[in-house]
Each structure stands twice: as C-alpha cells, then as structure tokens.
C-alpha cells in the first residue's frame, strides 16, 4: 500500500527546527517505459457522409468468428451455428448476432419532431427501461425476437452475442442459454522489482462556480510533485511515475452557453466559461508536468468533439504546459503500455450510457460487462455519439488490458477479475474528484488499487459555527 511505503522511513520528522544544511532531500522520480497505443482512436479524415450501418456490419463481421468459437467451446463442437435466414422451426441451434433492445422510452428524434403526435421533448430520465422492452437479435440479413432465459434488463443494444435455443412456432426464438465473447487473450505482464504507482484521477471540474474542491486539487498536485508531506511521503510520491487524468477536467457549468438563452447585447463581451477554466487547467498542468509525466484524456464536458472516440485536446490551449515533453494529450478511449502493464480506459461516457439503458447501477459491474462483451461501448452509435466508421470498429477489444478503468464514477470501486484463459484484469472506476476528492493509485507491481482521499477543513465541521459554506 502506498501508505506503508511512505511510512517505512524513519527519517526525521518535520516538526523540528531546520537543520544546518540548506537543502532538503531530493528524490528522483521513477521513470518507466511508456508507449501509447492510441492510433486506433485517431480519426484522421472525417467524413460524415456514411451511415452507421457500416460500423454494425464491421462489428458483426469481426466478432462472429470469435463467438462461433466460444459457442462451440460451450455447447459442444457439433452445435449448429445457423444464420437467421436458415433457421428451421424447432431445431436447437445457435445463432450469432447483434442485440437490439426496443425501448418505448428511448428518446427518438423522429417522435419529437413529428407533428402528428404533438409531443413535447421528453425530459431526461435516469433510466429508460420499462417492463415492455423487447429484445431482438439481428444478423446481416434478418432479425428475430427473443424470449426466454435472457435477462432483458441487463442487455443493451449493440452487444454481439451467441444464443443457444430454438425457434418456436410463433416466430420468436426461445433462448436457453447465451454466451458473450469474453475476455480476449492477454500478454502476461512483466514482474517488476519495485513498487511503481500510476495515479488516476478524473472529474477535476475546473471552472465551476463552487470552489470547494480547489484546495483538494492543490493538495493532490502538491502531493504528487513532492511538496507535501514529510520525507517518507515525498519519497513515496517519487514512486508515482505517471498521472492519468481521465476526462471532465472542466466542470459541466462551463458548458452552459448564455449565448443561446440570453439576448445578444447582454452576452456580447462575455467570454465562455471554458476559457477561464482552460487557463486554470493549464496552470495546474504546468505544476504537474514539471515533475511527472501526465496523460490528459478529454471527457464529456471538455472542449473537443462530442462523438466517440474523442480526439485529444489541442496543445494550443495549453501554452504554458505544452512546452514540457511530459505532457501527453491523448484521446478518449485511451490505451497505453506503461512499463509492460497495459492500460485501457475511457472517461466514463460509455459506462454512463449503459447505465441509462439497463438495470445495472454499479459502474464496476457495467465495466465488467463491457469487458466480457469484448466491446468498449456497445451502445455506440445507437444512444452514444460515435463517428461513423467504415470498415473497422475500434471499440472492439483486441487484446486484454491489465488495468481497465473508466472515469467520472460516483464512487471509487476496484476489482480484480480472472479470465478463462488465465487473464487477470484490474477493474477501476475512477471517482469524480470534484465531488469525492478521491483519486486512485494503481500499484503496477501488485496490480492493486488504492484510493487517496484529500480533505480540508471547513466551517461545517465546527459544532458551534453557524457559517454556511457558500455553494
């Protein structure tokens, strides 16, 4: 654990007079091998002329052989794997296709703008699932309704699965069992000799009207850069070899555009909230990059494109910190090989989207589900904005990561899961810093994750004070 590491030293406490020598100890930041794997998520020439059918076709084409193998493995080598057009009534067989969940509450732009219904736009809801939802399996040519032993509420549109069952007389397919593509193969990670940490944080929420979390953020930066704490802690902090900021560096309030609601003469000279927030971010990053390599991923409220994969933030926004080579502006989703340990993760939009359209509530469970489905964002492009890829679906996991994370979760959770082929993955849901003041430290040697909690005092904690914290 990080605390144990830091407390090992029996060095002098800082509650003493300064010693005669001028300089305090200086520790070297542990460096590590780093190679990013972000070419998959870079979208070069963007053309939105295509329809989204291509991405589904590419997805099915790529996942079909994998699922056929899994099906054979699970239900015997002689199981019939049929296409939907070849189905015979009553025959037990296996079909492979993309799931589609038809939900009544799913926001549909066509319904909204249709005048005959006279509908007002639907207010945003927490969950869009109802009892009347239907599951349908689609393959290249046909679709068929599903019923039976499949948990409709847990499934989401866009997942490619294999189903074992039979078609009944009424044209629906009765499910007896199903299987997912499960974890891909994993290259074993090298054994490390000493403890090295990677700090994961997300949801910094700069530029918000509430400034409560700023001291916590400052404490985080000070701890990582080695200014905070006594010698033991500083030497422990020197083993933090990388910082990964997983999205939502700006707060949601910077996205409110007065320009659209207020009159133009009132908003003419006002700057967007994100301008000041980016300046704050640049200063914060400057303090960090002068001391540790940082990877910055964009999130839902950051100034980059909306559709996944989000392209990296542009370096012109960070004039002070982009001078340092330690600043890496990366895409969302992001994959990298840090000292032999494969990291893969997103800023959380995929998990939040699945949460809205399924009955699962825990970000960690959803994260595990996406790993088992072998797809980062199955709901893209149905309900999650996505670029219309043509011949590839970059969200399919080709190699199993060692650390799989998603940002902006409400709480910190982590779990180590085992795959059927001996894969070992650490799942981490990185909590939103502006609300929880918590960051995560991943130990690369042991593949464990530990939360780090920052707090400051405020008038609230005093029993006798009547001051209100200004929110």
């Amino acid at each position: 654990m990080f605390s144990d590491l830091s407390a090992q030293r029996e060095g002098s406490s800082l509650l003493c007079r300064p010693a005669s020598e001028d300089q305090g100890p200086v520790f070297e930041r542990t460096s590590l091998d780093y190679s990013p794997r972000t070419e998959r998520y870079r979208v070069g020439d963007r053309s939105f002329n295509r329809q989204y059918a291509h991405i589904y076709a590419a997805r099915l084409m790529e996942m079909r052989p994998l699922l056929s193998e899994r099906a054979k493995h699970k239900w015997g080598l002689d199981v019939h794997i049929r296409k939907l057009c070849d189905l015979e009534t009553g025959e037990q067989c296996c079909i492979v296709g993309t799931l589609f969940k038809r939900m009544d509450l799913q926001p549909s732009i066509l319904k909204e703008i249709s005048e005959e219904h006279n509908l007002l736009p639907q207010p945003a809801r927490n969950k869009y699932i109802t009892e009347a939802d239907e599951l349908i399996l689609e393959d290249e040519l046909q679709r068929i309704k599903l019923e039976g032993k499949i948990d409709r509420d847990k499934c989401v549109t866009g997942s490619v699965i294999a189903i074992f069952g039979a078609e009944k007389n009424d044209g629906k397919f009765t499910v007896e069992d199903f299987c997912m593509a499960d974890l891909p193969s994993q290259t074993p990670r090298p054994t490390l000799s000493c403890d090295k940490f990677v700090l994961l944080a997300s949801g910094l929420g700069l530029g918000s009207s509430r400034a409560d979390s700023m001291l916590g953020l400052q404490l985080l930066v000070d701890m990582v850069t080695g200014q905070l704490g006594d010698e033991g802690e500083q030497s422990g902090a020197a083993s933090i070899s990388r910082v990964l900021l997983a999205g939502n560096l700006l707060s949601q309030s910077t996205q409110d555009k007065d320009a659209s609601t207020k009159a133009k003469y009132l908003t003419k000279k006002t700057q967007a909230g994100s301008v000041e927030a980016i300046r704050l971010l640049d200063e914060l990053l400057l303090q960090l990059v002068a001391s540790v390599p940082v990877d910055v991923m964009p999130g839902q409220y950051d100034p980059t494109n909306y559709t996944l994969p989000q392209q990296p933030l542009h370096r012109c926004m960070f004039p002070l910190s982009s001078v340092y080579p330690t600043l890496q502006l990366v895409s969302n989703p992001y994959g990298a090989n840090i000292d032999g340990v494969r990291f893969l993760g997103t800023s959380g939009q995929n998990v939040c989207d699945i949460k809205k359209y399924s009955s699962m509530d825990s970000h960690l469970d959803i994260l595990e589900e996406t790993l088992r489905l072998r797809h980062l964002a199955p709901t893209a492009p149905d309900t999650l904005g996505c670029y219309p890829f043509y011949q590839r679906d970059p969200f399919i996991l080709e190699e199993c990561p060692h650390v799989y994370f998603s940002g902006n979760a409400p709480v910190f959770e982590s779990k180590l899961i085992q795959g059927s082929d001996g894969q070992e993955v650490l799942l981490v849901t990185v909590p939103n810093f502006s609300s929880t003041q918590t960051a995560c430290l991943v130990n690369l040697r042991t593949l464990r994750c530990e939360p780090v909690f920052f707090s400051a005092f405020s008038a609230d904690e005093d029993e006798e004070s009547e001051m209100n914290i200004s929110h």
């Binding site: 406490s13 100890p25 701890m223 303090q287 780090v452 904690e461």
Partner: protein, 438 residues
C-alpha cells in the same frame, strides 16, 4: 543556520497579516519545501515560548485510514485543535507537518488555497524548483524541438485531411509538376501573345514557392483527385487559355486559397498577386464567392503583415480581375494597415493584366443556324480601365478618408458595403460605362 527567517516570518505574519503557508514561504525565501516547513515549526515554537500574540496554525496530516473495510490513504489539512483527533483516527500516520501559520483563526480552508495560488502564479516557471522530487524528463523543450513536435503533429493529419499546410518537401514535389504544365502553356502560346506570356511566365517562376503551399494542399487531398488535377493541368496546355469553367478547379482554387491563407505568411508578398492569378481561369461567380468568404480571412492576414505588401505593389505584374473583384480583394485587405494613399497607388499600379471577360459571340454552326454563345475570352487590360479603376477607387478612398479612426468593424462594414455596391455597379455595365468615359 541564521535566524533571519524568524524575523521574516514574524514580519509576514504580524505586520502584513498574511497567511504564511509552507509553499509560499518556500517560494518567497527560495528554500526547499521541507526547510520551509521546519522554519514554520521553529517559528511557532519560538513565538509560543515568548507568549506573544496569539498565533494559529494548520497542520497537514496524512496516513492510512480504515473506512468500512477499505483502506485509503488520506491527506488532510486540519486545524491545530483537530490534529490529535485526526491522528488518533488513522491507523498509520505517515506524515505530520505545519501547513500554515497565521494570526487569525481560520474557519475555512479557502484562503489557504488562494494564498498558494497567488504564490504559484508569481512563480509559474519554477514552481517545482524547491520541491523534493526531480523528474529527469521534465525539461521544457526548446523552440526547435517545439517546432518539430508541431510539424509531426501536422504531418499525419495532413495526409488524410487538408486542413494544414504540408511539409515543405511535399510542397516542392507538388509544385514541380504543376509549374511544368504551366510553363508548357507558356511555351504553347509563345507565338500568340508574347508579352502576356512573358508576364505570366514571370509570375509563374517567382511563384513556384507560393504555389507550393497551394497545390500541395489540394494535391494531398484524396488521391483520386490528384490525377484528374494533373490531367487537368496537362489538358490545359493543349487548349487555349480559354478558361473552362471546371468545378474541380474552382473548388481547388477555393480550397487552395483558404488553405493558403491558413498557412503562416511565408511568402506574403505573393499572396495577393497569386490569388489574382489563380482567379483567372474561373468564373466570375466563383470568384465573387471566394472573395466574399476570403475577404475576412485576407483582412486578418493582411493585418499581420502591415509592411510587406508595400514592396509588392511595385514588382508585380499582376493581372487584376474584373473590376468588382479588384474592389473586393484589393482594397478590403489593404485598407486597415495602409493609408488611403497607398491603397490608391497600389491599385493604380496593377494595371497590366489579362482578364477573362464574359463575352457572347455569335457564329454559324454546321446546320446554318446562328448560335450565340457566352464564353470567357481573355483580354488584356487597357488604360481606359485603369481610369475606370481609379475613379472607382476615388469614391472608395473617400469613404476611407471619412472613417480613418473608426473601428475595424465599421471599416469592414463599409468595405463590404462599398464592395457590395461596386459589385452591383459592375453588373450594370452601362452605368459603369457612363463613368468610364470621364
């Protein structure tokens, strides 16, 4: 260790009534952060022994905390009164040190943040100098390395997209095939109109560079286009200089000019004449569209290069466009940085140009029917049209003279209005002829 710092801290705390955090002290006195923490502690002890006016301190406590079965590393800033309480809650205390010293009791930790923020802001460049960790890789890149990084960033996207200027290498490669066909055109028409061609050839030669950013950008466009483009240039050598209205070329030129404008002004001198030569082979409508959209961009570009267009005006043998084009393109970019006089003279010097004019010609075809066709015919500019231009410039310059000190926005608006009016004027040829005869 000399005890001067005690007096320093005393001054800050008591006289200036500041909140002295360890970070602020370390940056102000230029000492290691741990030394600063120790200094603060020493100061506190010293003052408390002397029982001088009340001082309050905040401490930083960090350690392991067991919370609902999960251990976490907790780092917190606490008031002095809460220190022991916090320490007792933790299962393992890693570090404790003085965070800040101040005269007043702090209810809220907000001011601590603002003090640190101010301290950092004043010392942005070396905020890590006094920290306890050094990172070998964190050295700011020099300007050369920065440029390299920028180019690397530009190079991969430029292949699929054409938003940025390509590398010079690509540019030179692209310019060669394009300049050759152009010279071929010159060669073909050497007999017909020698002076004109010489003008053109002169323009072509000094312009391979200027063209380079332009053709490379479109040439780096989807490869499918590049071969028709090359073919197009080749074809053009065979045809007369009659500019065919080809959509491709129009788009090419529009794209090229937009991209050219987006490049940093490497050869600002040739932007204007280059633009005008490029607009030759295209239809008037296309030209006008471009100029409208590019007007603002040109203005912005020209604002940066205030001095440079001046030497240009004397060198170039730029073929001016048809009068409306001249108005929109030339005066609009030039008005802000330059004086009225200059724009007048510069426009005046651009006299000798070839121009494509929409003319209708009637002829008899095979069946003996008389056919009227509208077509572009190149025509050289003559003196009469200079006067025409000058008279057009005069009212325009008056406009400018009236508004020398107005804001740029207003200038732009007048520009656009005058350009709009001049555009309208040009369509009604008869009215212009009216002025012309003066």
């Amino acid at each position: 260790m000399d005890e001067l710092y005690l007096d320093n801290i005393d001054e800050y705390v008591n006289d200036h009534n500041k909140i002295v955090t360890y970070k602020w002290l370390s940056l102000t006195l230029g000492v290691h952060v741990n030394t600063a923490k120790q200094m603060l502690y020493h100061y506190l002890e010293h003052k408390r022994k002397e029982s001088s006016p009340q001082l309050h301190a905040t401490y930083l406590v960090s350690g392991k905390l067991e919370d609902k079965g999960q251990t976490c590393h907790k780092v917190s800033v606490v008031r002095e009164e809460q220190l022991e309480d916090f320490k007792s809650k933790m299962s393992l205390v890693v570090s404790v040190h003085v965070y800040s010293v101040q005269k007043a009791l702090l209810k809220d930790s907000g001011p601590l943040y603002s003090v640190d923020y101010d301290a950092i802001k004043d010392n942005l460049k070396n905020c890590s100098r006094h920290s306890a960790i050094r990172c070998a890789g964190a050295v700011p890149m020099s300007a050369m390395e920065l440029q390299q990084v920028q180019e690397i960033q530009r190079a991969p996207p430029s292949a699929p997209e054409n938003k940025k200027s390509a590398m010079n290498g690509d540019a030179n490669m692209a310019s060669k095939p394009s300049s050759k066909p152009q010279k071929g055109i010159m060669g073909l028409f050497a007999n017909k109109s020698a002076p004109k061609n010489q003008d053109n050839s002169k323009e072509v030669k000094p312009e391979p560079k200027e063209e380079s950013p332009v053709p490379e950008a479109p040439k780096s466009k989807p490869a499918a286009k590049s071969s028709p483009m090359a073919n197009f240039f080749v074809v053009q050598t065979k045809k007369s200089e009659k500019p065919a209205e080809k959509q491709q070329e129009a788009q090419l030129a529009i794209a090229s000019e937009q991209q050219h404008q987006r490049t940093m002004a490497e050869e600002p001198a040739a932007v204007e004449p280059h633009k005008e030569t490029k607009t030759d082979p295209r239809s008037k409508t296309k030209r006008m569209e471009e100029s409208d959209s590019e007007e603002e961009k040109m203005e912005k570009k020209k604002r940066r290069r205030i001095k440079k267009p001046q030497p240009d005006s004397s060198d170039e043998d730029v073929i001016p466009d048809s009068p409306p084009q001249m108005k929109t393109s030339e005066p609009s970019p030039k008005k802000e940085p330059e004086t009225v006089q200059h724009s007048h003279t510069s426009s005046g010097t651009k006299i000798r140009r070839r121009r494509k004019v929409l003319k209708s010609r009637t002829f008899k075809d095979e069946e003996g029917c008389i056919v009227t066709e509208k077509d572009y015919v190149s025509e050289s500019y003559s003196e009469s049209e200079d006067d025409f231009q000058r008279t057009k410039q005069a009212p325009r310059n008056n406009n400018k003279a009236k508004l020398p000190s107005s804001s740029k926005d207003n200038d732009k608006k007048t520009q656009k209005k005058s350009s709009a009016s001049s555009n309208k004027g040009s369509k009604q040829a008869s009215i212009m002829g009216f002025f012309q005869k003066k």
